[in-house]
């Protein structure tokens, strides 16, 4: 049997929802129930008090994403669903990285790298540093690769949030 090749791509889906308790649960429960594997999800308020925005990223093929969008649209608390194209979308993610740093050489190296990546140092102790970096997921990945050579103690990423340009 010939299996159809399904191309896996990364999709960013922006969802405007009612800003009230239980909405995240309803959405998350649907993902679980229908077997959609979400890479990241971020939720926050919008310019309107009664609405919130969820931004989710998912790896999948067109058919999976189409079904995901339809299932989201069915949820009563979902007002609008858009699949964002990577071309005209501004995408940002924030990461906090705690590094294990003891010697002065490493410390000055990381400060140099941080400057290149426009990362800020927000906490320093004799044994550690916490850096903050904002940017596209690719930029954060690149910085994390670099930081890993110093020994990452802990790391937290927010998942992406996004808006269409214009």
């Amino acid at each position: 049997m010939v299996m159809e090749e399904k191309e896996e791509k990364r999709y960013i889906i922006s969802i405007i929802v009612e800003n009230k308790p239980g909405v995240l649960y309803r959405a998350a429960n649907m993902f679980r129930r229908r077997g959609f594997n979400i890479d990241s999800i971020s939720v926050g308020p919008t310019e309107r008090k009664d609405l919130a925005r969820m931004t989710i990223t998912i790896n999948g093929d067109d058919a999976t994403v189409e079904q995901l969008v339809k299932q989201l649209g069915k949820l009563i608390d979902v007002i609008k669903v858009s699949v964002l194209s990577t071309k005209n979308t501004v995408v940002r993610e924030l990461a906090l990285i705690k590094l294990h740093i003891t010697d002065a050489k490493a410390r000055s190296d990381i400060i140099n790298y941080a400057n290149v990546f426009k990362s800020r140092i927000i906490d320093v102790t004799p044994g550690s540093m916490i850096l903050e970096i904002t940017g596209t997921p690719d930029k954060i990945d690149a910085f994390l690769n670099l930081a890993a050579t110093f020994g990452i103690k802990e790391m937290a990423r927010t998942g992406i949030t996004a808006l269409i340009r214009g």
Partner: protein
């Protein structure tokens, strides 16, 4: 604005939605509502297990097209409703389930009879509510009915904390309501209708697969018009049974796992399939990749998520089935002349004749399910509404009890809930008191909700139960015979209970029949009876339901 308690507001709001009956059972956390209900014009029907209340509301909804309402207390009362809610969800039936909840301050504290019914029912409801203030109740009830009964219908739960029921507030009952996240697409896109018309006019061998959506949308008449215009044979899914008269020359009966030979054979030859209100369930299509792989498919459904969910289609049309069929009929009739017959319709007749008597029925025996059900069809009027239990009884009913009018065949298709048929029949009878209602049952299924006999007798809701009694969990036994080397595991029920005595114990009639003649007499007696009748029909324990397409196989692999 009127000042009243949450319970008063609930009953008033239900009354405004034209609710005339609630099926339920009280308990601690819903007592304030029951207290108000006592003085209201709404009839309450007391069940003996909450699961039955949900099935009754479901039966009521499917027979009448109006939402059915059931009610239970918190905790176990609410969880007992869950099977019935899931059943209604799978079959897109509009029910409103009202549950009591512990007082607001106790929620989340694992209080006595507290359960997270919102969490439990989220994946099996269209929506659910837990008002935190009594003043929200009028709005919530209005929205609940609108959501449950429009678009693709489904169950809605309203969970009422006890102190919200008693809280007094200013109530504002809205006439109309806007739900910004809920806008079902009713009107089909003209371009899609045009594309469908194009395909169908060019089709040489058009075929209609009609599902439950046709019944929900009250579209039977227009479906028939389109079928006759196209001279397209019509097979229904199991949920679609009754949407197209099964004595119509274009009818092929039910398709799928236990569908007719003619439906399952004919669909293999079609070039354009018009799928109307169906969801391409595995029970209807068999192995999905091998279902009509080279056929052009047009799919009409009000739920956009059903389009392409199980089967990729060529022309999707999102819209109300009835509205879409009206548009389709208009545009088809501009291009097509009505004909008496076509090559394709002759081919269909040929397939029908070839397979007419292919299924062997034991001629030596009198009381075999096939004969019993054909006999029953002869005996009861055409507007009789039949419900079924789940298993062999259900599939025999599907094959041998032909129906001619929409909403006269009501069964648990999606969830396959044993114990559905009898309480559903009671709900049907409440909605349609003037027509005879029969539950075609198996002994296993009927036992699950037989305590509803108490409800049917004490509330004066006479229905008839025909038990095809093989003292077996018959469908499981059939699979064990066919796929597990006849190793019977946990399917023999013994000859218990004695259904005649059981019926009598509840104050109903019980009749055991020993021949087809006795069966006829019993049915005639039941039709005249003003109390529920249970007819116990002993059938051979090892009878199989054929045809059958084994699970996961394609329609070609049908056995009979």
């Amino acid at each position: 604005m009127v000042k009243m308690s949450g319970s008063h507001a609930l009953i008033e709001a239900l009354y405004k939605e034209k609710v005339d009956v609630i099926f339920g059972l009280p308990g601690g956390a819903i007592m304030p509502v029951y207290d108000v209900l006592l003085d209201s014009r709404i009839r309450h029907i007391l069940v003996r297990h909450e699961q039955s209340a949900a099935h009754m509301a479901d039966g009521y909804a499917r027979a009448s097209g109006k939402p059915g309402v059931c009610m239970a207390t918190s905790g176990p009362g609410a969880t007992n409703l869950v099977t019935g809610i899931a059943n209604a969800y799978m079959d897109s039936s509009p029910i409103i389930a009202i549950t009591g909840q512990v007082p607001r301050a106790m929620i989340g504290k694992d209080a006595f009879q507290e359960t997270d019914i919102i969490g439990i029912t989220t994946p099996i409801t269209k929506y659910n509510f837990q008002p935190r203030h009594a003043s929200e109740i009028p709005n919530i009830v209005k929205i609940a009915f609108q959501i449950a009964s429009t678009g693709r219908p489904g169950p809605v739960v309203i969970d009422l904390p006890k102190d919200v029921q008693t809280e007094v507030a200013d109530m504002d009952f809205p006439e109309k309501i806007e739900i910004r996240g809920y806008k079902p697409n009713i009107s089909p896109h003209p371009l899609q209708v045009e594309k469908a018309t194009e395909l169908l006019t060019k089709a040489e061998r058009p075929f209609i697969l009609a599902g439950g959506g046709v019944i929900i949308s009250n579209a039977s008449q227009n479906l028939q018009a389109v079928a006759e215009l196209l001279l397209a044979p019509v097979a229904t899914t199991f949920m679609g049974k009754s949407c197209f008269p099964e004595n119509h020359p274009l009818s092929l009966g039910v398709i799928g796992m236990h569908g007719t030979l003619e439906a399952n054979k004919s669909v293999l030859e079609t070039d354009v399939l018009l799928a109307v209100g169906v969801r391409f369930s595995d029970r209807s299509t068999g192995k999905i990749d091998e279902f009509c792989p080279d056929t052009k498919i047009i799919q009409i459904d009000i739920d956009p998520s059903e389009i392409g969910k199980n089967k990729a289609v060529d022309v999707p049309i999102v819209g109300d089935v009835n509205k879409t069929l009206i548009e389709l009929q208009k545009s088809l009739s501009k291009r097509l002349e009505k004909r008496e017959s076509s090559l394709w319709s002759k081919r269909i007749q040929q397939i029908k004749e070839e397979h007419r008597d292919k299924i062997k029925i034991d001629q030596g025996k009198d009381l075999v399910p096939q004969k019993v059900l054909r006999e029953l069809r002869e005996l009861v009027p055409n507007d009789t509404i039949v419900t079924t239990e789940v298993g062999q009884n259900q599939m025999w009913a599907s094959l041998y009890f032909k129906v001619y009018k929409p909403r006269t065949f009501i069964s648990s298709g999606g969830l396959g809930t044993m114990g559905f048929g009898f309480p559903a029949a009671i709900g049907v009878k409440v909605a349609k008191p003037d027509v005879p209602v029969f539950d075609i049952a198996g002994d296993g299924s009927f036992t699950m909700t037989a305590n509803s006999l108490a409800t049917s007798v004490t509330e004066n809701i006479p229905v008839t139960v025909v038990i095809l009694n093989n003292s077996m969990l018959g469908m499981v036994a059939q699979w064990q015979r066919l796929f597990y080397n006849r190793r019977y595991s946990a399917v023999e029920l013994g000859a218990h209970p004695d259904f005649v005595k059981l019926a009598e114990a509840f104050g109903a009639h019980g009749i055991r029949v020993g021949s087809l003649d006795e069966f006829k007499k019993a049915v005639k007696q039941a039709l005249k009876s003003d109390v529920t009748t249970v007819i116990d029909v002993p059938i051979p324990p090892e009878e199989n339901v054929f045809p059958m397409i084994p699970a996961g196989k394609s329609l070609r692999e049908i056995i009979y």
